[in-house]
Symmetry: C2
Subunit: 230 residues, 2 copies
DNA sequence: AATTAACTATGACGGCGGTCACATAATTAC
DNA sequence: GTAATTATGTGACCGCCGTCATAGTTAATT
């Protein structure tokens, strides 16, 4: 692949976006882009963590399985996002599976080489610190939801959170542009698909959630927040 | 306070430990040490986040309150640890309260000045990346425990985790060197103090958990892990 | 030392929500 | 197009665990 194409693909990623052509050069040299088809796995849980990925296009599902086979759906990542977040300057293994949800162009960078470039680019460090900080805030928020709220509220909070990470604003509603099955939503927060089904139908009856012609959820964020008594 | 004393206090903190005297100099210039007595608050939730703290001695409880008054005990931090973790190169507010559990000497550094130094010290960046990476792994692990395990298992996993962050090895057991009340343990994972009481007494009966003369828990980590069916 | 407050232990009760069952609809596979 | 798989919707059941109540113990305060 031509260098210009890699540059173009890198520019989708926020932490590279504002770098000049010269600044990008060493990164372009070590970056590859790969095409992954639907249902492929980019890496499996416990594989040695030797590279870092950035999404140019497509969607990637990050999913973890524990010893007894139970699954936790951690997130669905979209263009511009990076994975995994933990692993810089630390040896280790991938903490989860990465499965392709939609055909995707992925930028792959060996982590040791990326680290070398990183420490000589203060601008890049700053951006990465921001990204990691956001990740920490996100995780703290999810943990808080799990600790302080009952299942009904957890589902509401999940929908609201997904609005931001996997949605867009349409009119005065949020549109979830990633389709999640009830089972997937359940696996994010540790509830059952039946309870998710009942809960969503409950808020549909109140018209806080509707479906558009393509089956995407349209969510009335404000009304849903009212359901949380604050 | 004399500069040498600040240097000595900084050396307790892992990310500063291996820096030379010259490297430490600019940090010493902007660092203060403060003494906080038991039950004081270092900052309150939602205060503007303009500084970062490192513990030289003592213990700090990080605790969050939501709109309805429910409390989440996030962690009890010990010497060498930093707080908060998120906030580098991002404007914002403290996400939680920081309350002094034992009289503490705290190193305080204005975050904007620290950021300036940080970007000119690659070594420091690397260490901070490692610390943030560990924090992310920790949070992911806690989130997974909340999502995939029932209350009994959550309590067991909590005790095991606290062994690492707030304990030491004594013989073939772990000793929890921070005393937590049942209510505090409950507030970490969103259960009730009664359930914690019953669970701990249950594993005490099996001799997987005992008390030493000072009331610290002694935990048989392996035996407890057996309880989790893996 | 006395009083107050906070923590622990334990039983009883009830409800949230997990599990099972089954019908139906929607996708995927061949 | 047909079969097979997967997703959804709902009712019934019931067990885990949150809540309340009470008593006893320990710790904090004056």
């Amino acid at each position: 692949m031509k260098q210009e194409d890699i540059v173009k693909r890198l520019s989708v990623v926020p932490i590279f976006k504002e770098l000049s052509a010269e600044e990008l050069e060493p990164i372009v040299k070590i970056a590859q882009t790969r095409f992954y088809k639907h249902k492929m796995y980019i890496f499996m849980q416990d594989d040695p963590l030797d590279r870092v990925f950035f999404i140019h296009s497509g969607k990637i599902k990050i999913c973890r399985t524990d010893q007894s086979g139970k699954e936790q759906l951690i997130s669905v990542l979209e263009p511009g996002e990076m994975f995994p977040h933990a692993g810089f300057f630390r040896k280790g293994n991938f903490p989860a599976h990465a499965e392709v949800m939609e055909d995707s162009h992925i930028i792959v960078i060996p982590i040791d080489k990326f680290e070398e470039i990183l420490i000589s680019y203060p601008e890049l460090c700053i951006k990465l610190f921001k990204v990691l900080g956001e990740k920490i805030v996100d995780l703290q928020g999810r943990l808080e939801a799990q600790v302080l709220h009952n299942t009904f509220e957890q589902i509401i909070l999940l929908l609201i959170r997904l609005c931001k990470s996997n949605g867009e604003i349409v009119g005065r509603r949020y549109k979830l542009t990633t389709q999640f099955t009830n089972r997937e939503l359940a696996n994010m927060i540790g509830t059952s698909r039946e309870t998710v089904s009942r809960t969503i139908n409950h808020v549909k009856k109140k018209d806080y959630v509707t479906l558009d012609e393509n089956g995407f959820y349209l969510i009335d964020r404000e009304a849903l927040e009212q359901e949380l008594f604050y």
